[in-house]
Symmetry: C2
Subunit: 205 residues, 2 copies
């Protein structure tokens, strides 16, 4: 137990370098597959040095997962009462898609964690996340009841947005292999156009 002390700017920066390196490693190989050596290499420091700042590989992983969770659910948090409900849902979907495009490693890290039973997130899934989803589902259900969007199960609608947007990040290898190299550059523009049209058709009253 070290006494609480001011964290210097250098300490904070070091930690951030390590977290960035670890994110890359964990996204590529998962918790078990990623080694301290690989993280240390990516961070440009020695293995014991990485441990010195976080205590253990597990601590880096857990720290990363927790700090990213808030960023990850922010678009859903921002979904709220709106004059144009359909537009609000489309905005949510588009923000999620943009996050897949810009933060594919974060998406893969969450996907791997959940896929393997979410041993470090279960509490939050059935606690904070469930509360948030229930709250937003109630909002969507109201829009649905008022005839502003189609009658549709709001929970499954949210799942479908998660599934379809994150698919482009999590399974990018497969998507790019199937589409071929020539469609790789405009991929996210295509996805945006497709999903927008898709959800408009499915959701308008």
């Amino acid at each position: 137990m070290t006494s609480p002390r001011k964290v210097t700017r250098i300490q904070r920066e070091k930690r951030e370098v390590i977290l960035a390196a670890a994110l890359e490693a964990f996204a590529e190989d998962g918790l078990r597959g990623a080694t301290l050596e690989k993280i240390a290499d990516k961070a440009g420091m020695s293995k014991p040095h990485v441990v010195y700042y976080f205590g253990s590989k597990d601590a880096i992983y857990t720290d990363l997962l927790q700090s990213l969770l808030e960023v990850w659910v922010q678009p859903l948090r921002d979904l709220s009462e709106d004059a144009d409900p359909l537009a609000a849902i489309l905005t949510y979907m588009r923000r999620k898609l943009r996050m897949s495009q810009e933060m594919p490693r974060e998406s893969k890290m969450f996907a791997t964690e959940i896929l393997h039973g979410a041993p470090r997130m279960r509490q939050q899934l059935s606690g904070d996340l469930k509360s948030l989803v229930d709250e937003k589902a109630a909002l969507i259900a109201r829009w649905s009841a008022e005839g502003k969007i189609a009658k549709i199960d709001p929970h499954h609608l949210i799942f479908s947005i998660w599934a379809m947007t994150q698919h482009y990040a999590d399974f990018d290898i497969q998507v790019e292999a199937v589409l071929g190299d020539d469609r790789k550059a405009g991929l996210y523009d295509e996805a945006d156009a497709f999903l927008t049209e898709f959800f408009v058709r499915a959701l308008r009253p």
Copy 2:
């Protein structure tokens, strides 16, 4: 190099017991996370005995992946010319959903492999799978051009079916945590109803 010999019934059965155990282990923990000891325990035999039948952990994994691939793409293979294109696509989507329900471990194993760069499947993704998808996409494009279904990008339509159906298997932990225990029993009936309505609205001309 042993000379080719008849594989006995017992040998085949042993291999199947090991493959079943390995599927469970790999789906839970991935290739790196799953240990030979865990596979051996699940299979009810000793560690060297498992190696005796397959040579290595890697061989079990590769064998399993290859043998499951054919089963996995069969529903798409069966999508073909039909008097009612919308019904044909819905049937495909429903078969995929049923596979998620009945074969969640297979779904998770593929998901983990692709998520981590598909080192043992890349050839097939950009070869056989791309060919198959391109072929079926051409069929869907024809339906679309003939006005039998909505105008829509067929490749992304296929991705959306993969994403939404496999989401219920791959992220079951999250889905069940968010929905709560009381909705767990009827989950796949709910998903079927939601997805059917969803795709009908999105696809009808």
